[in-house]
């Protein structure tokens, strides 16, 4: 194993999409085989035996593995290695089980003078064809996986599925929205935890979401904006808080910005100018904002974060996710700032200790705020770190990152909140890089050996 990370910048090349198109072919192909069986049943009136039915079920289960890959690509514009493995793994298991069923049926009729069950197609009975196809599919998946290093770019054509075939077709999305969310376990879970994957955006032809070609991540379609509907409380009215709040609002979320003194903040010239362009974002006191938000974003200065959260009454916000993007920069000794706490403690840990009811996730603190919400500003592969104690909270944070345009492969989970010491201590390096490069449009990239 050379590396767990992509060795090259994914470009969504033709060769790199081979496995994606193979998954499409695989899912459609097996669906066609089942339809062929239905044709024999309902057009030629050849009633299937029980084993024939079982084989059809295995065929559909195998197709579902490939369909998972296709669905992931359509939904996110990117398919990670784990998605490919999961999809093909499901297909392989179903193929082998189906192969056994068709083998057994073939063996039941293999003795001389046995005419077999049903009619023949091209000289072979349907169950023999099924056996051959099951076996051939296992080999085909094996070949696809063996060339996976060059046939699995994570960038694939991203388009919403629909009968018209256009990326912006909303037929299926409308249908999906028409179902009560309470029917679906994930939907109810999403509603309660805020871990909903953001709706896929309508991007136009062959645009990839999260691809690294310098394009700005597209804004959601209008219908999707109304659909997403999470409530975020962004604590802090500086450039970081405003940038994140604007992006969240752009994604269709209800956003309230928390500050110590709303009247004083509203009177600030730069905030008033920004607010004029963000009419949907409300301004409120810390406590009110924190109460209203399903998820909190700490964008306050690191030295005042505890005070701000105390004012927000965060001790009584048990169970809420707090995405901590702040850094404990201490400017008391001038520039460049030092960190406090540092080494044996971190701001992330301090917040988690002080407010144990909150589910703190440290992320996005190692880059400029414009890159936080628009990773395509930096070309090529680069990474965002995530750490925290609560798995569900980290999952919610990852999905927020996805909605900002961060592909799954660019998110590195460093473990528990103790890892915040490490990510916060990157700030001194970041500050010096800024001085050397003369700008802030850069980010860290972790390259495996």
């Amino acid at each position: 194993m050379h590396t767990l990370l992509p060795e090259e910048t994914p470009t969504g090349s033709l060769l790199g999409r081979v496995q994606y198109w193979f998954a499409c072919f695989f899912a459609i192909g097996w669906t066609g085989v089942v339809c062929g069986g239905l044709f024999h049943q309902f057009a030629l009136w050849e009633h299937p035996c029980p084993l024939c039915i079982v084989q059809r079920m295995f065929m559909l289960l195998a197709a579902m593995g490939a369909a998972y890959i296709v669905r992931t690509a359509l939904a996110y514009g990117a398919v990670t290695s784990r998605d490919y493995m999961m999809g093909w793994g499901m297909s392989l298991v179903a193929l082998i089980a189906g192969s056994f069923a068709s083998w057994r049926q073939t063996m039941l009729h293999i003795l001389p003078k046995d005419k077999g069950y049903g009619s023949e197609v091209l000289g072979l009975h349907l169950y023999v064809w099924a056996w051959l196809l099951f076996q051939a599919s296992v080999v085909a998946i094996g070949i696809a996986l063996s060339f996976g290093h060059s046939t699995t770019d994570s960038s694939v054509p991203a388009a919403r599925p629909g009968p018209c075939g256009r990326p912006d077709c909303s037929y299926w999305a409308s249908w999906a929205r028409s179902s009560p969310s309470t029917w679906w376990p994930c939907s109810s879970r999403r509603a309660s935890t805020g871990s909903c994957r953001m709706p896929r955006t309508a991007t136009g032809s062959s645009t990839t979401w999260g691809s690294w070609n310098g394009r700005r991540p597209p804004a959601p379609a209008t219908a999707d904006r109304k659909e997403s509907g999470m409530r975020y409380a962004v604590l802090g009215t500086g450039i970081v808080g405003r940038t994140v709040a604007a992006r969240l609002a752009d994604l269709g979320h209800d956003v309230v910005v928390g500050t110590r003194d709303p009247a004083a903040t509203a009177a600030r010239e730069e905030y008033a100018g920004w607010q004029a362009g963000q009419p949907r974002v409300r301004l409120a006191a810390f406590a009110e904002a924190a109460r209203e938000g399903d998820t909190l974003v700490n964008a306050t200065g690191g030295q005042v974060s505890i005070a701000a959260l105390t004012e927000a009454d965060a001790a009584h916000l048990d169970g809420k996710v707090l995405i901590d993007i702040a850094n404990p920069l201490d400017f008391s000794q001038g520039f460049p700032p030092s960190l406090d706490p540092v080494n044996t403690d971190s701001l992330g840990e301090l917040i988690q200790r002080t407010f144990p009811g909150l589910r703190v996730v440290k992320t996005l603190n190692t880059m400029n705020c414009r890159i936080m919400v628009d990773p395509a500003r930096v070309e090529g592969e680069h990474h965002v770190f995530v750490c925290g104690e609560d798995a569900d909270a980290k999952k919610a944070a990852r999905e927020l990152l996805h909605s900002f345009g961060w592909p799954e492969r660019s998110i590195l989970d460093l473990g528990g909140i103790e890892a915040a010491r490490g990510t916060e201590m990157l700030l001194p390096v970041w500050l010096r890089l800024m001085g050397t490069l003369g700008h802030t449009d850069f980010n860290f990239h972790v390259q495996g050996a």
């Binding site: 029980p50 084993l51 039915i53 079982v54 079920m57 295995f58 559909l60 289960l61 579902m64 369909a67 998972y68 669905r71 939904a75 999961m86 499901m90 298991v93 179903a94 089980a97 056994f100 069923a101 057994r104 063996m107 039941l108 293999i110 003795l111 299926w172 999906a176 179902s179 679906w184 376990p185 994930c186 939907s187 879970r189 994957r197």
Partner: protein
């Protein structure tokens, strides 16, 4: 039983489309696979009675 399983397969497919969690999706898929295997075992109720020597 067949109808129930086909219904379950359809529900699993819809769950996939609705982008349910990976855990739920995998759980549904494996449940359906297990159900189909049990159905197959139910239908396999005799030996092949082959007298082949290979």
């Amino acid at each position: 039983m067949d109808t129930l399983i086909f219904g379950g397969l359809l529900a699993t497919l819809i769950a996939m489309y609705r982008e349910t969690s990976r855990t739920f999706m995998l759980g549904a898929w494996w449940t359906m696979l297990l159900a189909v295997i049990l159905l197959m075992a139910h239908h396999v109720n005799s030996s092949l009675a082959l007298t082949l020597s290979y």
